[in-house]
């Protein structure tokens, strides 16, 4: 008797979970279906629900007729650059916020919080002028620098949480060995918070991969367009076929999803390790 109720519960749970998975996966599945639906059938009623196997050539076509390959490479450069720079900049202040009580700590904390509130659209005009002065316009470096400004605050907070969880005694042992403070951070602390570093790396990577407003404004050379700008711009006024748009959308989405699936183990572990524990 007991086992049957358990089974019943299990079944219900599975149904709910499968339902949720269906909802989360459907839009991406629909990109696939739309991109492989022949353009004559796009306006069919009822719609085609399965990907059209004969239409795979659409991916080759958009790859050959647009710069999507180049856009993706640019997005990857921006994403990787943002990730590396964000982590480099965030580790030490995170450590300081976790381990020291110093005059001005409130200012640092406040600065990190307030910068989370600034919309990109608000800063883009003054940043354009600053970038002009710094010769950063029309460079991927510029995009990396500006994206990092938006990821560093949240990453610092998350890393601080993780460092809070590292026992101080481990560090003491290290400082007796004569390691300098920065050495301690890099040799002792960082390996211990590796999962959280991975989690924050993912956050930074996605930010760089997805960013649209700056990429659209601060870069105009077509060869430096990122995938977000390329895709948004591809939706033309003049009869851009929807299946090509969706094909590019899918080519832009899948690398991020695969990358995420690859590292998600660390993300969950990293969030647990310190994360936003308050």
């Amino acid at each position: 008797m007991k086992t049957t109720t358990l089974d019943w519960r299990q079944a219900l749970l599975m149904i709910v979970i499968l339902g949720m998975l269906g909802i989360t996966a459907f839009p991406i599945y629909w990109m696939l279906v739309t991109s492989t639906t022949a353009s004559t059938d796009l306006f069919a009623s009822p719609p085609h629900l399965l990907p059209g196997l004969s239409q795979w050539h659409v991916f080759r076509e958009v790859f050959n007729t647009t710069d999507v390959g180049n856009w993706l490479i640019n997005s990857a450069i921006v994403a990787v650059g943002t990730t590396v720079l964000s982590l480099l900049l965030a580790v030490l202040p995170a450590y300081a916020l976790s381990r020291f009580r110093f005059a001005g700590i409130a200012i640092v904390g406040l600065a990190l919080f307030v910068t989370q509130m600034l919309p990109e659209a608000m800063l883009v005009v003054p940043l354009y002028a600053i970038f002009g002065q710094l010769s950063l316009l029309n460079t991927l470096t510029g995009l990396i620098l500006v994206n990092t400004a938006f990821t560093v605050p949240v990453i610092t907070w998350i890393l601080k949480g993780a460092i809070d969880g590292v026992p101080i005694d481990i560090e003491e042992a290290a400082s007796i060995d004569g390691c300098s403070r920065i050495g301690t951070v890099f040799i002792v602390v960082i390996p211990l918070i590796a999962p959280t570093l991975a989690a924050t790396a993912v956050i930074a990577f996605f930010h760089g991969w997805n960013e649209y407003v700056f990429a659209q404004t601060l870069v105009s050379a077509p060869e430096l367009h990122t995938a977000s700008v390329g895709l948004a711009g591809f939706v033309g006024e003049l009869s851009t076929p929807l299946h090509s748009v969706m094909a590019i959308g899918l080519m832009y989405t899948l690398p991020a999803v695969f990358f995420y699936l690859l590292v998600q183990r660390y993300v969950v572990a990293g969030m647990t390790a310190g994360s936003v524990k308050g």
């Binding site: 989360t24 009623s45 965030a90 600065a111 990109e120 649209y212 929807l242």
Partner: protein
């Protein structure tokens, strides 16, 4: 408060605070100064001027006029209302669904690991791509959602979503929540994994039902995480741009016109940088007020909880 004890110990070990924390924080502060604070101050200044996007170097000082103009316009109160509704709904649904999902994914079942990965897919999808596929799915004529509603007999068809003032905000919200709830669920799930199973089992042995176990054991453990998530989702929702802009540009009839959309339109369509900056400052003030209230509330809650 364990962290405080650790901090004190660390500081003692280092022989006082010294210059180390300042050195550690200097690069990031300098960085934020250049890329955030400096442009922010420029925006603050611009908000008191009339300045054209085409000649941002020439400002006519107008004092508070941009601000008084905003609050004289009836549409601006609509912008504030839409912003608040959008933000609150994002928080409620992203946290609610995220919490529910996290609790489900914390139960033992076969394939749990795979489910945990797959459920987070939306978070990894780029907003520009998400906006485009949802625009297509919400299409009033050929959209798959309309077909579904027609099939289920829930709609007479052709009411439209993104072009319908009474449904556009719902459509934008559905899209947003779909995109962000996986993040809240991952974070809450990781907090749940920190909840001691012994405590939970002890409570169950004591005869507590599911709800009281949740209230007595689980909720207190994850509450700080949920609270902080609430703050972050609030702030991020206040400044979300690409999804809304690409889906509706704030329309129809202003029904999805949030502060950031209004800011962008004034800056780039009307080319009025001063007005746009004023809108931005109103948004920033709103975010600051919410943050201050949040910290007041959490401090009070922590005191009440006896910390």
């Amino acid at each position: 408060m364990a962290a405080d004890k650790q901090t004190a110990k660390a500081q003692a070990a280092a022989g006082g605070v010294g210059w180390a924390p300042y050195l550690f924080c200097a690069p990031v502060m300098l960085y934020l100064l250049v890329f955030q604070a400096y442009p922010l101050l420029q925006e603050l200044y611009l908000s008191f001027t009339q300045t054209s996007l085409l000649s941002p170097g020439q400002h006519d000082w107008v004092g508070w006029r941009n601000y008084t103009d905003l609050f004289e316009q009836e549409e601006f109160s609509q912008v504030l209302v839409v912003t608040l509704v959008y933000t609150v709904a994002c928080v409620v649904f992203a946290i609610g669904i995220g919490l529910g999902t996290a609790l489900l994914l914390n139960m033992p079942f076969r394939g749990r690991g795979i489910a945990r990965s797959l459920i987070t897919i939306p978070w990894a999808a780029p907003p520009v791509a998400v906006a485009l596929v949802f625009i297509w799915m919400f299409n009033g004529q050929y959209g798959v959602l309309q077909h579904l509603l027609n099939f289920l007999g829930l709609s007479s068809g052709m009411e439209g979503w993104l072009d319908n003032p009474s449904r556009a905000l719902t459509a934008v919200l559905l899209t947003t929540v779909w995109q962000i709830f996986p993040f809240t669920s991952v974070v809450i799930l990781s907090a749940l994994q920190g909840v001691s199973n012994d405590l939970r089992e002890a409570a169950v042995i004591d005869g507590a039902d599911r709800f009281s176990v949740f209230g007595a054991v689980v909720w207190p453990a994850i509450r700080p995480t949920v609270m902080l998530l609430t703050l972050f989702i609030t702030i991020w929702s206040l400044r979300r741009f690409d999804l809304i802009w690409l889906m509706t540009q704030g329309g129809p009839i202003g029904s999805t016109n949030t502060l950031v959309i209004e800011l962008y339109r004034r800056a780039f369509t009307y080319r009025e940088l001063g007005e746009a900056a004023a809108v931005g400052m109103v948004g920033l003030s709103l975010a600051l007020v919410i943050t201050v209230v949040y910290f007041r509330l959490t401090v009070r809650a922590e005191r009440a909880a006896g910390h």
